[in-house]
């Protein structure tokens, strides 16, 4: 199903993988409110949804979304240093994906949450003046500009 080795490797190393065919498991679709296929949900270890990927994506974008999901799990668990690292992995390794701007935003937020200092937010706003300028994430971060 996932022909790219880097995708299968990331899934195997980071998640407990569950595959549910819509015809065999319609109750699961209802239970988790999956209304389209493909839908990929990332849940934390308590079974709480942390990220949702609906529809097909090419490998780079899909991998970036998986990274985002893993990062959101860490963020929700208040493991902010780990979350920041995971978000920055997206920006550094998959910079041309749609997820990269979102990851840049949340990396700054994670660093702020970890340190309690406003400087990471200001640095994030500045970073958005240099890349992903037209993204909604740049607009969201603009309020932090010093």
């Amino acid at each position: 199903m996932y022909p790219e080795a880097r995708v299968t490797k990331f899934i195997s190393e980071n998640f407990i993988p569950v595959r549910l065919h819509v015809k065999q498991h319609p109750e699961a679709m209802a239970r988790f409110k999956a209304e389209w296929t493909p839908t990929v949900l990332i849940l934390n270890s308590n079974g709480e949804e942390r990220h949702r990927i609906e529809g097909f994506l090419p490998a780079d974008d899909f991998l970036a979304q998986l990274h985002l999901g893993g990062a959101q799990v860490s963020f929700g668990d208040q493991k902010f240093d780990d979350a920041e690292r995971r978000f920055r992995d997206v920006v550094e390794e998959l910079p041309d994906t749609d997820a990269a701007a979102e990851a840049l935003y949340w990396a700054g937020v994670s660093q702020y949450k970890a340190t309690g200092k406003p400087e990471p937010l200001q640095a994030t706003a500045k970073a958005f003046t240099e890349r992903y300028k037209e993204s909604q994430w740049a607009k969201k971060a603009s309020v932090w500009a010093a």
């Binding site: 595959r19 498991h25 839908t39 990929v40």
Partner: protein, 32 residues
């Protein structure tokens, strides 16, 4: 590296709770 899929959600949820590992749920309509 082949993914070791399960289709037992509740078993996977229990495993996640015990291990602290997150889950990935892949809903598909593709032939299996």
């Amino acid at each position: 590296m082949a993914i070791q899929w399960t289709d037992d959600v509740d078993k996977a949820l229990a495993q996640a709770k015990e291990s602290g590992r997150p889950l990935l749920l892949d809903f598909t309509a593709a032939p299996m």
